[in-house]
C-alpha cells in the first residue's frame, strides 16, 4: 500500500468521456454544407482528435499516481506538465463510497469516492477491485461489525415495483387500444388535417398523452427495477466508528460513513411506507448524501435502535401549532392546480378532447396539495434531551430527521408577515454545506436559538 501505484486504465477512459463534446465541433460544418464530402472531412478530423485526445489521456493516466503512506494519508497526484497533488488524512474522511457498475465489474475496476470532512469537493479514484477494498480497509476499517441483512428493502422495492408494473401495463393496454381505434385512417386523417392545427391537436393529443404516460410509467418502472436490484444481497453493519452498507445485483456498491461525522438520520414517510409499515432510513455524512437508504426499517422492530442508537427518539407524532401559519406550503402545488382546474373548465366547452388528459396533471397537483396539507399540519422543530428533531414535507415524502452533528449552523429568516406573527423559516446548515429548511416555525419553538 505504501508505494506509488497507477490508477485503473478506466481512469483514462473516464477522462476521455469528458471530452465527448469536442467531437461535435467538426460536425458543425456538416450542418452548413450538408454533403458527403463535408461529413467525410468531419469524420477524418474527429479521428485525428480522438487519437490526439486519447494520447493525452493515456499520458495523464501513465504519469498519475496514488499512494497511501504509513500514517494512512491518501496522496493523489495528477501530472501532465502541471502537477496537481491532493492529500487526505484518514481522520479527515467523513465517508467513502465504492461503486461497481457492470462495465467496471467486467474490467475488474472500482470507483472510489472519498468525502472529506466539511468539504463539498470529493476525491474520485478509479482503482482495481482489490486495491479499492484495501484502501477502504485502511481508511475506514470494519472491525467487530454488527451485521444485519434486512429484508424490508427488497419487499418495499418489489411491492412498489409490482404496483407500478401493473399500472404501466394497464397504460400500455389503454394506449394500444386507443392507437388501434385510430389506426385504419391515422395517416390519412393526419395528412388531411395538417392545415387545421387545432383540430389535429384535439384529435391526437389524447393519444399522444396516453403514450406519454406510458413512457413516463415505463421509465419509472425501469428506475424502480434499478432500485429493486440495488436492494438484492443487501447488508448493513455498524462498528464502534462507522456505519456501512453494501449490496446490489448488477451494480454493486458499498458505503462507509464515519459515525462522528453523521449529519442526520432521515426517516422518509410516504403513502407507500404508511401502507406497508416499512420505512427507508437515510443518513448523511459530510457532503455524502446517498440516493439509497442505509436500510429499510420495519416499524416496531429493534433494528433502528441497534443500528442507530443515537436516534434515541423520533420527532413527536403530534400536530404542529397552525395558528397564523404561513400559506406558503400550499403555493407550489396550489397555483398549478388552480391553473389546471381553469384549463379543464375551459376545455369542457372549447376542446372537450383535452379534458381527460388535463385531469391527469390536475390529479397529480391535487395529490401534491394534499401532501402540502400534511406538511402544514406536521412540519416543526423540537429539541428533546439536547437532541434536535425536525419534521418537514417535501413533495410526497414526510421527512423525520434526527440531527447528530454538533457543528451545525443555523439561519432563521423572517418575512415582514412572519415578524408580525412571530414565526421564522429555520435552515440548518451542516458541514459539507448541506441545508435543511423547516418553514414557518413559531419563535417559541426556537428558544434554543435565543432569537
Amino acid at each position: 500500500m505504501n508505494r506509488e501505484k497507477h490508477f485503473h486504465p478506466l481512469a483514462a477512459l473516464h477522462l476521455l468521456r469528458k471530452t465527448l463534446l469536442v467531437y461535435l465541433l467538426p460536425l458543425v460544418q456538416v450542418l452548413f454544407d450538408r454533403n458527403w464530402d463535408a461529413l467525410r472531412a468531419a469524420l477524418r478530423q474527429e479521428l485525428v482528435l480522438l487519437v490526439f485526445i486519447s494520447a493525452v489521456c493515456w499520458a495523464v493516466y501513465y504519469a498519475s499516481r496514488w499512494q497511501v503512506d504509513a500514517e494512512g494519508t491518501v496522496h493523489v497526484s495528477w501530472r501532465l506538465g502541471v502537477r496537481l497533488d491532493r492529500a487526505l488524512r484518514a481522520e479527515g474522511l467523513a465517508a467513502l463510497v465504492l461503486e461497481q457498475p457492470l462495465l467496471y465489474r467486467l474490467t475488474g475496476a472500482c470507483r472510489v469516492v472519498l468525502y472529506p470532512v466539511g468539504q463539498t469537493k470529493t476525491i474520485t479514484l478509479y482503482l482495481t477491485r482489490q486495491q479499492a477494498a484495501e484502501l477502504a480497509d485502511v481508511l475506514l476499517p470494519v472491525t467487530d461489525p454488527l451485521w444485519h441483512a434486512p429484508k424490508g428493502g427488497e419487499k418495499l422495492a418489489f411491492t412498489v415495483l409490482g404496483a407500478n408494473g401493473l399500472s404501466t401495463l394497464f397504460l400500455w393496454w389503454l394506449a394500444i387500444h386507443q392507437t388501434q381505434s385510430y389506426a385504419p385512417d391515422a395517416q390519412t386523417a393526419a395528412l388531411a388535417q395538417l392545415g387545421q392545427l387545432a383540430a389535429l391537436a384535439a384529435r391526437w393529443l389524447p393519444l399522444g398523452m396516453a403514450w406519454l404516460l406510458v413512457l413516463a410509467g415505463t421509465l419509472f418502472c425501469i428506475s424502480l427495477v434499478r432500485s429493486a436490484l440495488q436492494a438484492v444481497h443487501y447488508t448493513v453493519w455498524r462498528t464502534d466508528t462507522q456505519l456501512g452498507s453494501r449490496g446490489g445485483f448488477i451494480r454493486r456498491y458499498e458505503m462507509r460513513l464515519r459515525l462522528c461525522q453523521l449529519n442526520y438520520a432521515d426517516l422518509r414517510r410516504s403513502p407507500a411506507t404508511w401502507a406497508l409499515h416499512y420505512c427507508p432510513v437515510f443518513v448523511s455524512a459530510g457532503a455524502c448524501r446517498p440516493e439509497l437508504p442505509l436500510f429499510v426499517w420495519r416499524e416496531g422492530t429493534p433494528l433502528l435502535r441497534e443500528l442507530l442508537p443515537e436516534m434515541a427518539q423520533l420527532p413527536p407524532d403530534t400536530r404542529a401549532d397552525t395558528t397564523d401559519r404561513s400559506m406558503v406550503f400550499f403555493l407550489p402545488a396550489g397555483i398549478p392546480l388552480a391553473l389546471c382546474l381553469l384549463l379543464t373548465a375551459v376545455s369542457r366547452t372549447t376542446l372537450p378532447a383535452l379534458t381527460l388528459p388535463l385531469l391527469i396533471p390536475t390529479g397529480v397537483f391535487a395529490a401534491l396539495l394534499g401532501a402540502a396539507a400534511v406538511g402544514w399540519h406536521r412540519e416543526g422543530v423540537w429539541q428533546q434531551q439536547g437532541q434536535l428533531l425536525l419534521c418537514r414535507q417535501h413533495q410526497f415524502h414526510l421527512h423525520q430527521l434526527c440531527v447528530f452533528h454538533p457543528d451545525t449552523g443555523f439561519t432563521a429568516l423572517q418575512s415582514p408577515w412572519a415578524v408580525t406573527v412571530q414565526r421564522a423559516n429555520l435552515t440548518l446548515v451542516f458541514p459539507g454545506k448541506e441545508k435543511v429548511t423547516v418553514r414557518s416555525v413559531p419563535l417559541a419553538a426556537l428558544d434554543f436559538l435565543e432569537i
Binding site: 470532512v117 466539511g118 468539504q119 454538533p406 457543528d407 451545525t408 449552523g409 443555523f410 439561519t411 432563521a412 429568516l413 423572517q414 418575512s415 415582514p416 415578524v419 421564522a424 446548515v429 451542516f430 458541514p431 459539507g432 454545506k433 448541506e434 436559538l449 435565543e450 432569537i451
Partner: protein
Amino acid sequence: MSEQELLRTALVLPPRARRVLCVWAAVPGLVCAPFAFWQSVWAGAVFCAVWAALVALVRARCCSFVAALTADSVTVQAGVAIPVLHRIPRRAVTGVQLLRTPLLWAAGCTVLLVRSPGLQLVLPGIPAAQATALAAVLMEGSV
C-alpha cells in the same frame, strides 16, 4: 479586550463604519450613473433615485446589525423588514479572516469573516479592537 468583555458586549456597527459601507454601496452607482445620464436626464435621475434608495436600505441594514458571542456560539442578526439570524457553534469555526481597506483603517474598523464548514459569517466594519479580540477568541477554541 478579553473574552469576558466580548461575552457581555453585543457588537454593533459604529456610525463611521456605516458611512464606509454606504460609500462602498454608492460607488457602483456613481460609476454607472454617467451611462444612465447619457441616455437621458430623466433616466439618470431615476437611476440615481433608485440607487439612493438602495444605499438607504444598506444603511438601515447596517443600523440593525448585531453580532454576539456566547459561551458556545457566535450569532449575527441583521435586517429590518426581513430579519435574518445566522448562528455558528464556536467549536465549528475553522478560520477567521480580517480585512482592512484604507477607508476602514481611517474609520478604525475591520471586516471580519468567520468561516465554518457549512456557514460563513461576515461582520462588516466592526471596531478593529473588538474584531481582533473576537478573532483571537474564536481561534483559541477552534479544533
